[in-house]
């Protein structure tokens, strides 16, 4: 299986994501922002970082990058797409997911480990977790405060589209939302960084199943 990782100017977790993909047992493929092609990948990770410096708004400029055209098609066609941190912001700006990420209520960048709960396992990115399972994940962001209008939040909750929830909310997110998926459930955005806890050498492998899940999902389909 080939998993692509987009690289925008200013992405900085791209190498980490490629490493995690490799550890999960898939073939990592770099997707350069200026090339409008997905190189026949089976899934795409939009990694964290500060695409275009986070200038204007995080993700606002990156969503117009050339690679985003085919990526949007891929997502709409049901291809598994994961946005992590800045990648989540990009997917929101591209309207592949609803809502927005506002400045943290504490007005500071937060980098720490937080306990979270896996709420839904019926997405290609969470299939290998147990529903209700608690995992500890790193967060590192300035704008991770999830916001959507009341109707949207209600819809997300009712349709079971809140995929990951903070047990220790680090940023003021509505309903402690740490991650959501689209209606078709193939596009997932997460604020915490599973790729940073995907290697036992760093003391935790709790995030690796995110990448293994998409492999397993593909295996089941083939």
């Amino acid at each position: 299986m080939r998993i692509g990782v987009t690289v925008f100017p200013g992405s900085n977790c791209d190498r980490d994501a490629l490493h995690a993909v490799e550890r999960a047992g898939a073939t990592p493929v770099e997707l350069w922002h200026a090339e409008a092609e997905l190189k026949a990948v089976d899934a795409v990770v939009v990694p964290g970082g500060f695409s275009y410096g986070d200038y204007l708004r995080p993700g606002a400029i990156a969503r117009f990058a050339k690679v985003m055209g085919p990526l949007e098609e891929f997502a709409k066609g049901g291809g598994p797409v994961l946005g992590v941190c800045n990648g989540f912001q990009v997917l929101l700006e591209a309207h592949l997911l609803p809502g927005a990420l506002l400045r943290n209520t504490g007005m500071r960048f937060v980098s720490r480990r937080v306990r979270t709960r896996i709420e839904k396992t019926d997405t290609p990115w969470t299939a290998l977790y147990g529903e209700g399972e608690t995992i500890t994940l790193p967060v590192a962001h300035n704008e991770g405060n999830y916001y959507a209008d009341e109707g949207t939040i209600r819809e997300l909750e009712e349709e079971g589209r809140v995929v990951l929830r903070y047990l220790e909310n680090p940023n003021g997110s509505a309903n402690d939302i740490a991650g959501i998926c689209n209606e078709a459930r193939n596009v997932v955005g997460l604020m915490p960084h599973p790729e940073r806890v995907s290697d036992p050498a760093l003391g935790s492998e709790e995030g690796l199943r995110v990448f293994r899940s998409v492999l397993a999902a593909a295996g089941a389909k083939v």
């Binding site: 100017p9 200013g10 900085n12 977790c13 190498r15 980490d16 490493h19 995690a20 200026a34 964290g48 970082g49 500060f50 275009y52 410096g53 986070d54 200038y55 007005m107 500071r108 960048f109 937060v110 980098s111 720490r112 790193p138 590192a140 300035n142 960084h193 790729e195 940073r196 995907s198 290697d199 050498a201 760093l202 003391g203």
Partner: protein
């Protein structure tokens, strides 16, 4: 302005001007004078510190590159090497803290890139005035935000540092940034314009504007009311461009397109070009009009000394120039051929073909050297006459410990380092909060550890001992996580060298550091000097900052300070000769900075630290902490708090430790050279055997939820934590300037 006013305003002395006349054989024009002004400033030319720096040992079996290049380089193993350096950005941060700190980080990153290394870790050492003052709070908050703002965006983890507060730094904060880069040992790039004549000089990165013109001279002056007026010099960092510059530089090197690479720092293109020329023994000609500009109407002299950030200068073979420009385009950076390497040995600047300045590169690189007068300051005798026994002994040690743990100098630094991304890169094995940060090298079992340590108060009370103590503390911190300390970089933050008692502090500190480096076997491979850290109120403490790097053969064998299990045996090892002289306790509880701290016993420091390191490396110990600020009680409290497990002293052990000592001395006295480790009972025999002849005491056991030293202390771990986990930005309403 007459000529004397001109060179004086550029920071040059009469003596220096005469020397320039002699070297040039004619009067210099304004551009040439500007070049001398920046290249002969302390920041670039080390004119007051060069003879002192020669005292540092700088060779060793793992040293691949000592001082003199953009960064020092040491060998790790399996062909891997680390490039690292520390640098100050004190003055810019005093004027504009956010951008000053941010550009400090950007600048040190580029030094590491210039060696061809990928930046993989950042650290910082910070000093501010006390937080009860609004301006100090503002500087602290914005400096931390600036460090994070740059480091987080650029994707290099900030893994460690140091921060303390003292009135000695009010108005003159210290902002020292350190960067470590990873590189293949056989791919180290040197900033020499070698391969001589005919090669081209390429500038790439951000466009050039009027940023920080004469910033280097500014950094070498005392801070006065007037420097407020020089504010238009502030440089603004662009981490986004910085990130592109990292990736672009590494790509150019990987594709073997460059002959030499040099970052642009103080005095911009002119300074970088003259350094490259001097190192390579060649000349360089620059065409000012070829430089991509951000602003209109810039004069040629402004163009070549502008300090716009996020730029690099490379020497390129002519046939590869097009390819270089193409790579830069891929990363959306401006790039242009702005000059060529020649054999005439001069740095020559042209403006549309007209020569507008020409100076021998050697002359610029050869700043005059001053041996300053040394006089032992009078305050030392007074400070040393202090008698700790004259202090009243507290009657409630619980309360004293809680107060100390909550003090800004001893409380948790989490509110600082949680603003830094410490994990990006996925190599951080031990995150901030331990004695040193630990990182792995992907694809190997190898790793390295880094720490930054500073000893301002100690140096104030005893410059020589304090200099040695900073090096020794760094050595201990690395040993505690299980790394073999290898080499260090330093940043010497001092007052004016023109004042004989100020120069005494500098000279003595350097001697103390040099001696410790000799004994501990950790050479100095790079560094930076920041003098004239004075305000109208006087000089800062003599404050050398040490950034030390150590290596692991097997990074999975490392230790952290937190207690890990109930029932572990807690062992104190090393020297125990606690003194209150110069201690945190004395300053926090009694408001005194006085006494003569214990002299470090360097050979023993080494023996004990090496032992701790090997205990960790052999897998006997996974819990270790050195005893430093706040003494034994604070060290144990930190181990309890981070581990979430209490500890009880054995009654029989307390007696000998106390013998003839007051409770405060035993609990809070400081001396260096000692450690606390914890092991499960089944490894107790192995530990005793490994300890050999080293002095040690099994002082108690982990367990429960209290820290209990019978007769002296008995506090719940939760209370310790509540005191310790204090947010240093509590009153963090943005007071004054910049919303962020």
């Amino acid at each position: 302005m007459n000529i004397q006013e001109t060179y004086t305003s550029l920071g040059l002395s009469d003596f220096e001007y005469d020397r320039i006349l002699e070297l040039m054989g004619r009067p210099p024009n304004y551009l040439e004078l500007s070049l001398f002004s920046v290249m002969w400033s302390e920041h670039c030319g080390y004119k007051n510190s060069r003879p002192l720096l020669r005292r540092f040992p700088n060779t060793g079996p793992r040293v691949l590159q000592g001082p003199g290049e953009n960064a020092g380089v040491i060998e790790v193993g399996e062909g891997w090497a680390l490039a690292f350096k520390m640098e100050s950005h004190n003055h810019p941060s005093a004027v504009e803290p956010y951008e000053g700190a941010a550009t400090g980080v950007g600048g040190i990153i580029r030094d590491v890139i210039a060696m061809g290394a990928r930046p993989v870790a950042l650290l910082n050492a910070l000093r501010f005035g006390p937080l009860d003052d609004e301006r100090n709070r503002y500087l602290f908050r914005e400096v931390v935000r600036g460090i994070g703002g740059y480091g987080n965006a650029i994707g290099v983890p900030t893994v460690g540092g140091e921060v303390e507060f003292s009135p000695a730094y009010s108005g003159n904060p210290l902002v020292n940034a350190m960067c470590v880069g990873l590189i293949r040992a056989d791919e180290v790039v040197r900033a020499k314009a070698e391969a001589g004549e005919g090669n081209l000089v390429v500038l790439f990165g951000a466009k050039t504007g009027r940023d920080g013109i004469h910033g280097a001279t500014f950094a070498s002056d005392e801070l006065t009311e007037e420097s407020e007026a020089k504010r238009s010099n502030v440089q603004v960092g662009d981490p986004f461009a910085g990130k592109m510059l990292i990736e672009c530089s590494l790509r150019l090197l990987e594709r073997n397109l460059l002959v030499a690479l040099q970052d642009l720092g103080a005095a911009g293109i002119a300074s970088s070009a003259s350094e490259m020329a001097a190192r390579g023994g060649v000349g360089i000609e620059l065409d000012a009009e070829k430089v991509p500009l951000r602003e209109e109407g810039m004069e040629a002299w402004e163009v070549v000394i502008s300090e716009s950030q996020e730029r690099m200068l490379a020497v390129v073979e002519p046939e590869k120039a097009d390819e270089v420009l193409k790579v830069c385009e891929r990363y959306e950076l401006d790039a242009a051929v702005v000059g060529r390497v020649t054999s005439h040995g001069e740095l020559r600047v042209f403006d549309n073909g007209e020569p507008i300045g020409s100076v021998p590169a050697e002359a610029l690189a050869d700043a005059p050297v001053y041996e300053r007068e040394v006089r032992r300051p009078a305050y030392l005798d007074g400070a040393h006459r202090f008698d700790p026994d004259a202090l009243p002994e507290p009657d409630d040690y619980n309360e004293v410990l809680l107060r100390m743990l909550a003090h800004p100098n001893l409380c948790s630094r989490a509110s600082v380092y949680e603003q830094y991304d410490s994990e990006v890169g996925s190599d951080t094995v031990v995150r901030p909060g331990a004695d040193a940060a630990v990182l792995r090298i992907k694809g190997t079992k190898l790793g390295f550890a880094v720490t930054a340590d500073v000893s301002g108060r100690h140096c104030y009370l005893d410059p020589r001992g304090g200099g040695a103590a900073a090096v020794a503390e760094a050595y201990r911190n690395l040993s505690c996580v299980g790394a073999e300390p290898v080499a260090l970089t330093d940043c010497l933050n001092f007052g004016s060298p023109e004042k004989p008692d100020g120069y005494y502090g500098l000279s003595e500190c350097v001697d103390g550091m040099a001696e410790a480096c000799e004994v501990l076997g950790t050479p100095v491979v790079s560094g930076n000097v920041s003098l004239f850290n004075e305000t109208e109120r006087g000089a800062i403490y003599p404050t050398p900052a040490v950034g030390m790097v150590g290596v692991f053969e097997d990074v999975s064998r490392h230790a952290t300070p937190g207690f890990k299990r109930e029932g572990d045996m807690v062992v104190h090892l090393g020297d125990y000769r606690p003194t209150l002289a110069g201690s945190d306790y004395l300053e926090i509880v009694h408001g005194k900075v006085a006494g003569k701290p214990e002299q470090p016993r360097l050979p023993r420091e080494k023996e004990y630290a090496d032992l701790v390191k090997s205990l960790v490396a052999e897998g006997i110990v996974d819990t270790a902490h050195d005893v430093s600020g706040g003494g034994l009680a604070v060290a144990l409290a930190e181990m309890s708090i981070t581990g979430g497990i209490g500890m009880t002293f054995d009654r029989v052990e307390v007696e000998p430790m106390l013998s003839g000592r007051r409770g405060d001395q035993a609990l809070f006295g400081e001396c260096g050279g000692h450690f606390v480790v914890a092991v499960p009972e089944e490894r107790w025999d192995a530990l005793q055997e490994a300890l050999g002849g080293v002095p040690y005491d099994q002082i108690g056991r982990t367990g429960g939820d209290r820290l209990d030293v019978p007769g002296l202390l008995d506090v719940a771990v939760d209370d310790l934590r509540a005191a310790h986990e204090r947010d240093l930005f509590e009153q963090h309403a943005p007071e004054g300037g910049h919303l962020g």
